[in-house]
């Protein structure tokens, strides 16, 4: 399953399938990007980050892809599990301000 955060805020996938969550960022000067997972009633939890000098980074079951040409970021989750159900936010760091600019967020629903 695939979503574009701004236009399709909810992504529903079958357990075991791969998920792709997309994000368009706004500032071409942003040099650091983070994906956060937020479960209901909890604070955002770090998943993975990537710097602007990279175009791909892999973690455990997650991969982040960065396309600076079109200012696009994606999060791929392999073998999606029920515990992955949450809202996923991309965030960009605008230069050395330390300020994170959050995207709209995408709700991931995993169907058993």
């Amino acid at each position: 399953g695939e979503s574009v955060g701004l236009h399709l805020p909810t992504l529903s996938v079958q357990e075991g399938d791969n998920s792709i969550i997309n994000c368009a960022y706004s500032n071409s000067a942003s040099d650091y990007f983070i994906w956060y997972k937020q479960e209901s009633g909890k604070g955002p939890q770090f998943i993975i980050d990537i710097r602007s000098n990279m175009d791909k980074r892999q973690g455990q079951r997650v991969t982040v892809l960065l396309n600076k040409t079109v200012k696009h970021l994606s999060l791929q989750i392999a073998a999606t599990q029920p515990g992955d159900s949450a809202v996923y936010f991309c965030a960009e760091n605008a230069g050395n301000t330390g300020k994170l600019i959050f995207g709209q967020g995408t709700t991931l629903q995993v169907k058993p």
Partner: protein, 114 residues
Amino acid sequence: DAMVIQNPRYQVTQFGKPVTLSCSQTLNHNVMYWYQQKSSQAPKLLFHYYDKDFNNEADTPDNFQSRRPNTSFCFLDIRSPGLGDAAMYLCATSRDLAGDGEQFFGPGTRLTVL
């Protein structure tokens, strides 16, 4: 071990009655942030401290104030809460302002205004 701690987790206050939310960190990070998050929205930065240096976002209402008495603690004061201030308030920390490290978030305080 908890790294960013927020108290209380749930706070109920009355319209116009001042309220203070608390955040503490065990990471010894230089920067502490306060975000407001309303239902189904992304966190919105209110202000941050770099050490003792306070930085207010341009669109943060005057009703919101903050104090950082030491490295570990930071408080959010809402002087006269309105119904529109009901939200989740998130505290976060980062080692520095440079874009080479994540922000660590606390569990949040959910504020209800009656």
